[in-house]
């Protein structure tokens, strides 16, 4: 997996830069790297070009961007307050006044679905970023230095991985005690991030192990560069492709985990609108008011689909061999 992820441009530069004057080697590089239009492009530009060719990943990107806008401008977009109840208008069917109907407290479902995007996206994105922030450095250090440090870090990671993911996430949420609002959301972020740190640590460690044996790393050492500089400037960029792909698909997984925790009553608490919670709360009324559970469910589905489509496209664009 890691070998496949190595951007073409970096390798070429390191070979021709190191031994440019030796005619034989230059010829050898020419043989190994056939002339093509792609050669002059940076790996990033190549990725973007491939991504633009894929309709499905562009659809995914469009969904993601649209949802981000909905989440940011929820206050403007929502026709009503998502938490204000109106006892005179409970269980309204979808109509012009209430496009998605109202729930048992007379709250406007459209407004709740729009505001629900905030919790879902915030948890999805932030938990993955937090897991990245902790997992990537751990993986870099473990892979680069090896030895006891590696053993120690990976043992802790394996301990977390030894748990069935939901068992750990549920117990963490019980310990954190679910609450409403921003703090309640941050607790969910923390629980999901902890469960997902080892995924990134392992992924990065695997890539580092293969990258650090490469000649250009040896060249850096010979030039007298210090370890932190080598890790930041040479090792990390060569591990980026799998990190980016796993991040995008990881957001989709985190959103599902958040929805599941909410469904079990362990996510962000009411009155903060959350899709998983709304879906669960409205199942009691499913017999006569099916749409109440349907719309939050569709919202979760579309969001996860968007990230999955985009993530799939990214994987194909950045590295066709990555699975």
């Amino acid at each position: 997996m890691a070998n496949g992820s190595e951007p073409v441009g970096l390798k070429r530069r390191s070979i021709s830069g190191g031994a440019g004057s030796e005619a034989g080697l230059v010829v050898a590089t020419e043989v190994a790297w056939p002339r093509s239009a792609e050669r002059s492009e940076s790996p990033f530009a190549q990725g973007v070009r491939r991504l633009r060719r894929s309709t499905t990943s562009l659809i995914g990107l469009a969904i993601v961007l649209a949802l981000v806008l909905v989440a940011i401008f929820a206050d403007v977009l929502a026709p009503q307050s998502p938490i204000a109840s109106d006892q005179t208008h409970t269980f309204e069917r979808p109509s012009r006044d209430y496009p998605l109907g109202t729930d048992q407290l007379g709250r406007d479902m459209l407004s709740r679905v729009i505001h629900g995007a905030r919790v879902s996206l915030a948890v999805g994105v932030t938990s993955v970023l937090l897991a990245l922030l902790l997992g990537v450095p751990l993986g870099l250090v473990a892979g680069f230095y090896g030895g006891r440090l590696d053993g120690g870090i990976m043992r802790v990671m394996d301990l977390i991985l030894a748990f069935p993911i939901y068992l750990l996430a549920i117990i963490l949420m019980v310990i954190f005690t679910p609450t409403a609002g921003v703090i309640g959301t941050m607790k969910v972020v923390g629980a999901i991030a902890i469960v997902r740190i080892p995924i990134y640590a392992r992924l990065v460690r695997g890539s580092v192990l293969s990258v650090k044996e490469k000649e250009f790393i040896e060249a850096c050492r010979a030039l007298g560069q210090r370890d932190p500089a080598i890790i930041a400037r040479h090792v990390l960029p060569n591990c980026l492709a799998p990190i980016i792909v796993t991040t995008t698909l990881g957001i989709a997984t985190s959103i599902i985990v958040e929805a599941t925790l909410s469904f079990l009553g362990l996510g962000t608490q009411p009155p903060t609108p959350s899709w998983g919670w709304d879906l669960k709360a409205n199942i009691a009324f499913i017999q006569a008011n099916a749409w109440l559970s349907l719309f939050p469910g569709i919202a979760i589905f579309v969001t996860v689909l968007g990230f999955n489509l985009f993530g799939d496209g990214l994987r194909d664009a950045l590295d066709p061999r990555l699975k």
Binding site: I165, I171, F263, G297, F301
Partner: protein, 324 residues
């Protein structure tokens, strides 16, 4: 091979103990005191101290863990703090329900995924392939509980209540008490929707993985050789290609077990099934330490053993893989 298996089996014990210890410590750092809920309105400080002493909750955590462990090796899983019922008895009553759910859902997953993946890989870039991959994409993006809600809407509320929306009828021979409904047909009616809700997502993941690895395998030289020597398509696909393509798929399915346990909790909650999932979540929410310990123990054990089985499947799928 034999020594390898023994060594692996030997590793199961410390892993399970470690998980149970971490859960033990974590549960005791959960805010809230089970003694308060046991005593309810009759709570007095004096009774609370007595109750804590009776349950051994006044001793240091590590000490409590070893007491629990000491009883465990004698076959005593402890008793629920809230109901007083023996934990092992409850776990054994609920285990068959969850096992049936998980086995059937894996069955559903395989029955959907293998044909879909084969069609996708063998007819790559045709409408059949696009249909299979699109449906799989949709499948991985729907959480289990939403599939469950859609099934409820279709089969319990629509179609004149064809399938029951909740509850359970036991398979003949698995009824834990004298007082439960037992019938094969009733059982099938109750398990069908939960098994589909849990199986569809797994089917989607399987389809995507298997299609991708089939595409790789089908282009290898030994498949060309098999075709060149005149083998008909069926043995080429099933005997040569599929078996090798299953290896990476089995690995990922092993990793999926962690998600399957969460899925079982959710699906059992949605369909109000008396399985281990509802047992576990109820125990965690009620802070019933002993029950949570029992739940963690059986889950961790299942998790570790399934991962071991996954490793052993490799030797069957690819005889070149030998453990020593």
């Amino acid at each position: 091979m034999r020594t390898y298996m023994l060594r692996r089996l030997f590793h199961v014990v410390p892993t399970v103990l470690m998980i149970s210890f971490v859960v033990f410590v974590m549960m005791r750092s959960v805010p809230g005191d089970p003694v308060v809920s046991v005593l309810g309105d009759a709570y007095t400080e004096e009774d609370a101290i007595k109750a804590r002493e009776a349950y051994g909750l006044n001793k240091p955590i590590v000490f409590q863990y070893f007491i629990w462990l000491g009883k465990l090796v004698q076959g005593d899983w402890g008793a629920s703090i809230l109901s007083g019922r023996p934990v092992l008895q409850d776990v054994l009553i609920r285990l068959p329900v969850t096992l049936e759910l998980i086995v059937l859902s894996m069955g559903v997953a395989l029955v959907i995924a293998i044909p879909a993946a084969l069609i996708g890989a063998l007819r790559q870039n045709t409408w059949a392939d696009y249909t299979a991959t699109s449906v799989a994409m949709i499948g991985v993006s729907i959480p289990e509980f939403f599939i469950g809600v859609l099934l409820l809407l279709a089969f319990s509320i629509g179609l004149g209540g064809l399938l029951p929306s909740s509850g359970w009828v036991y398979l003949p021979g698995t009824c834990p008490t004298m007082l439960c409904g037992v019938s094969l047909w009733g059982n099938m009616q109750h398990v069908l929707m939960p098994a589909f809700a849990l199986g569809v997502g797994r089917a989607a993941i399987l389809t995507r993985l298997l299609r991708a690895s089939m595409l790789e395998v089908i282009r290898t030289e030994y498949v060309t050789t098999a075709r060149a020597k005149g083998l008909s398509e069926a043995p080429v696909v099933f005997k040569h290609a599929l078996k090798n393509a299953l290896i990476p798929t089995v690995t990922v399915m092993g990793l999926q077990v962690g998600f399957l346990i969460g899925g079982a909790i959710v699906v059992e909650t949605l369909f109000a099934m008396p399985g281990l999932g509802t047992f576990g979540i109820d125990a965690i929410l009620a802070r019933d330490y002993q029950q949570v310990q029992g739940f963690a123990l059986i889950t961790a054990f299942a998790f570790v053993v399934i991962n071991l089985l996954v490793d052993l499947t490799y030797t069957f799928l690819d005889p070149r893989i030998r453990y020593s």
